[in-house]
């Protein structure tokens, strides 16, 4: 790409070649700090986790080789399986719901309103900026026995539904999920809004002429044309759902019972307090592989022609 310019006639070929080669290798020097740190403090630790997953280790005494024992436990242990199921449920709230909401909102807003759009963007994006710890604390109040949710329920005459939502065996996971929806929906909406600006207005005009209603227009024009944005939103939010930790740690800590336990919480507990570093590592490896697989599938699917 850089060789398009003709070589200056005066430069002897030998010298030019030497210079080019030096330039090539010097590129590695520019890459060195990033690669070195990334390898030392991200990649090697991840590989070290994979290594630890083949041992039984309490973090203190000598580790003993466990073969695939820890992986067998990951599949068989009921608590670990529950964690996987909860992570799956969270995908519904972190990905499916925000994307659906974002799509509908973007479709309704996109072509009707220009005024104030920048302000709206800034506001709906705000949850994305906050530390999840703070988000969790805020929502603990919203969900508390005397909290906003129950106030609203009482105000509309549904007071008998009022309860401590995060302490409920039936509702805690849903409640945590809704917080995820709150955090992510703005991002999805803004992402889709910027996507709709790419769509040519004439396509809509044409479909109107053909007599398509708003629903038809949404399903057969907006959604298909926003495929790249949807794929991106899906990847980001699925990673967030599967590797969630901060939010669950602050809102429920995994409880009541094990109703909101997710892989991140289990890894934390097992490795730093449970004395099962090997098992925690195996779970972390499985989690990472699942995330890689999901991202790969989403990327593949989004590149296929509809």
């Amino acid at each position: 790409m850089l060789d398009i310019a003709p070589a200056p006639v005066t430069a002897p070929p030998r010298a030019r070649q030497r210079r080019r080669r030096r330039r090539r290798w010097s590129g590695l020097l520019y890459l060195a700090p990033a690669l070195l740190l990334y390898t030392l403090f991200t990649v090697l630790p991840a590989l070290h986790t994979a290594y630890l997953s083949f041992f039984n280790w309490d973090g203190v005494t000598l580790p003993s080789f466990a073969g695939l024992g820890n992986y067998r436990s990951v599949v068989a242990d009921p608590e670990l399986r529950a964690a996987a199921e909860h992570a799956g449920t969270l995908i519904l709230f972190f990905s499916v719901l925000p994307i659906a909401l974002g799509l509908v909102c973007a479709a309704i807003v996109a072509r009707r309103r220009r005024r104030g759009l920048a302000v709206i963007r800034a506001v709906v994006f705000l949850p994305q900026v906050l530390p999840l710890v703070a988000v969790g604390i805020i929502w603990r109040w919203v969900y508390a026995e005397q909290g906003t949710v129950n106030q609203v329920l009482q105000a509309v005459g549904l007071g008998r539904w009022a309860q401590a939502w995060l302490g409920s065996f039936d509702w805690a996971l849903v409640a945590v999920g809704v917080v995820g929806t709150w955090v992510v929906s703005g991002l999805c909406m803004v992402l889709f809004l910027s996507g709709t600006q790419r769509i040519d207005g004439e396509i809509y005009e044409a479909s109107r002429v053909d007599g398509a209603g708003p629903v038809r227009e949404f399903l057969s024009i907006t959604v298909p044309l926003l495929r790249p944005e949807i794929a991106v939103a899906l990847s980001i939010t699925v990673i967030a759902a599967l590797s969630s930790f901060d939010l669950v740690y602050i809102t429920t800590g995994g409880g009541p019972g094990t109703t909101t336990v997710v892989p991140g919480i289990l890894i934390y507990r097992l490795a730093f307090g449970g004395g099962a570093v090997g098992l925690a590592s195996a779970l972390a490896v499985v989690l990472t592989l699942v995330i890689f697989a999901v991202v790969l599938v989403i990327t593949r699917l989004s590149r296929e022609r509809p």
Binding site: L44, A144, G186
Partner: protein, 272 residues
Amino acid sequence: MSLPRRLAAPAVLTLFLVAVFVPFLSLLSASIQPAGTPLTGLEAPHGLHLENFGTAWSKAGFGRLLLSSGLVAVAVVPASVLFATLAGYALATMEVPGGRKIFGYLLLGLALPAEVTVIPLYYDLRALGLTDTRYGLALVEIAAFMPFGTFWMRSHFATMPTGLIEAARLDGATSWSTLWRILLPNSRPAVTTLGVLYFVWCWNQFLLPLILIQDPARRTAPAGLGYFTGEYNVDIPSLAAATLIVIAPVVAIYLFFQRHFIRGVLDGALKG
């Protein structure tokens, strides 16, 4: 256009805005109640009890925690931006041997959850005496930020006209001075955006500081908030005030660099 359809957009937007703001209002209203008030939802304030902020700042130690987070950010943000710029520059403008593979290797990090690195990091950094230090945490965060930053700066430098680089080279400029004298002065928006994103991410880190820094004197603000919440009998109004103190810097940065932030997240996501 029929009336319902005309009202649809404003109605949807209002709902969205209310949904974003109501939780904030609960937080604000909790922070100005008298100390010792139990958990409540939205409530008319009984006067304005700003002393909760004083309690959170000094007695609960959030002034110190904020400083601690600030020190980590000061170490992490400039170094990450610099290293990512150098790496992105090399990948975009030079024919580095194995460049494509190196780029792919870095991109893997975008999908790597902190859960898979944090266990050995704790034991290995402890062996090196780097747990309970801000250096250790900073090194880990810089490393974790390299994939996105390199990717971001690479796609930025790739959009710059190649003629610019060629001309500089023909004038005898080294690759180093080409970067500093010609490319970077024209890269302010991209670099600012990356810096803003890095600051927000660095400030909001939770799992890594929670585990790598156990010493209460060196904790970061969000980790401190995590511990404060877990305390038995925590005073709700001071917890609310502490939460506001912890989110203030990121909210301020966001409001100031709002366009940069949104564009960064959107472009960063879409180019991936």
